[in-house]
């Protein structure tokens, strides 16, 4: 078997277990987007163009709250700033690639594919290893587009009484499960949450996500510094 294809299949295999939580997330996104008033084509377009669960949910949340476009776009940017970290971490493994491959890989650099391929890159040195990230990314892509589509179709049959919008905070809560055990993370989580909740009505232009995020990140910078001094 061709080595590229073998690495590609390995990428699909490695990421597949992480796809289980993506299924309800995609369904919820599809259902909510229609609920808020986006058309089925616009909803599908979001998943194809943006291709990022957290970004798309933030887009919906702020759009339905009446935030301006500028605030929505910069909040999406704030949510995405974690990708700067991913890119910086994998860039050393991808530096020899042609520009077109860098563009393709960037489109597919989502949380789950990053997590798995970063482990693979650390252990493997062959020149085709980027196919691992390609395989993982395409798997995420197929699942995300399929579940978005199913959410759009199912949305018409799901009664509002079920309160599915509550699944949004739950999904984000679930993404933080690994951070609840670390003290600094818990403090950062509480600060961000309090600033957002109390600032919701007072921060102009619905920019509460950005204000809370920046405040909490500064807190993290200070706390990690203090933590090091004490060591």
């Amino acid at each position: 078997m061709d080595n590229k294809f073998r690495v590609f299949l390995k990428g699909i295999f490695d990421v597949s277990l992480l796809m289980i939580p993506v299924v309800p997330f995609g369904l919820i996104f599809g259902v909510l987007s229609i609920d808020i008033g986006f058309s089925p084509i616009e909803t599908m377009g979001m998943s194809l163009i943006v291709f990022g669960g957290a970004s798309q949910i933030v887009l919906l949340q702020l759009f339905s709250g009446g935030a301006s476009s500028l605030v929505i776009i910069s909040s999406v940017g704030a949510v995405n700033s974690r990708h700067l970290l991913y890119g910086a971490v994998v860039s050393e493994h991808l530096s020899d690639l042609k520009l077109i491959w860098k563009i393709v890989i960037s489109y597919f650099l989502v949380d789950q594919a990053f997590a798995r391929s970063n482990e693979y890159f650390k252990k493997n040195k062959d020149k085709d290893k980027y196919f691992h990230l390609f395989g993982g990314g395409i798997t995420c892509w197929v699942i995300w587009q399929t579940t978005t589509f199913l959410g759009i179709v199912l949305g018409a049959f799901i009664p509002e009484k079920l309160g599915l919008s509550f699944a949004v905070p739950l999904t984000f809560l679930a993404l933080l499960v690994n951070d609840f055990r670390k003290l600094i993370n818990v403090i950062v989580i509480i600060i961000s949450g309090l600033v957002a909740t109390f600032g919701f009505n007072y921060v102009p232009y619905k920019a509460y996500v950005i204000v809370a995020g920046v405040t909490a990140l500064l807190t993290a910078a200070i706390l990690t510094k203090l933590n090091k001094k004490n060591e």
Binding site: V50, F51, L84, L170, A174, L175, V177, T197, G213, V214
Partner: protein, 104 residues
């Protein structure tokens, strides 16, 4: 701004955050300190979505009494801490929410 333009801009900024580091940065430009702080981005941003969605109602007012979302979120968080499992967290939260609004 039309919905489509908004979607395209959000897509562009998402792509650019992913692409910029791969395309432009050398590894050395990111020191350990910046990496460490960036690792806190999920903890710093996600609660700004979570808290208002639980504690505020649709018009942005505090809703602290008769709010099943608070109890359901606490149960989900406890299950999450114990299980360290994303699916178990979401399902336990939704199940306890439905239990509270339909059964109690």
């Amino acid at each position: 701004m039309s919905n489509w333009l908004l979607i395209i801009y959000c897509g562009l900024i998402t792509f650019l955050t992913r692409f910029s580091m791969i395309a432009l940065l050398k590894k050395e430009m990111f020191n350990d300190r910046i990496r460490e702080i960036l690792s806190f981005v999920p903890s710093a941003i996600f609660p700004a979505i979570i808290f208002p969605a639980i504690f505020l109602d649709n018009s942005g007012d505090f809703q602290l009494e008769n709010n099943p979302k608070i109890m359901a979120a606490i149960i989900a968080m406890l299950i999450g801490i114990i299980s360290q499992n994303i699916i178990a967290t979401i399902i336990s939260g939704l199940a306890s929410y439905w239990f509270l609004i339909f059964m109690v």
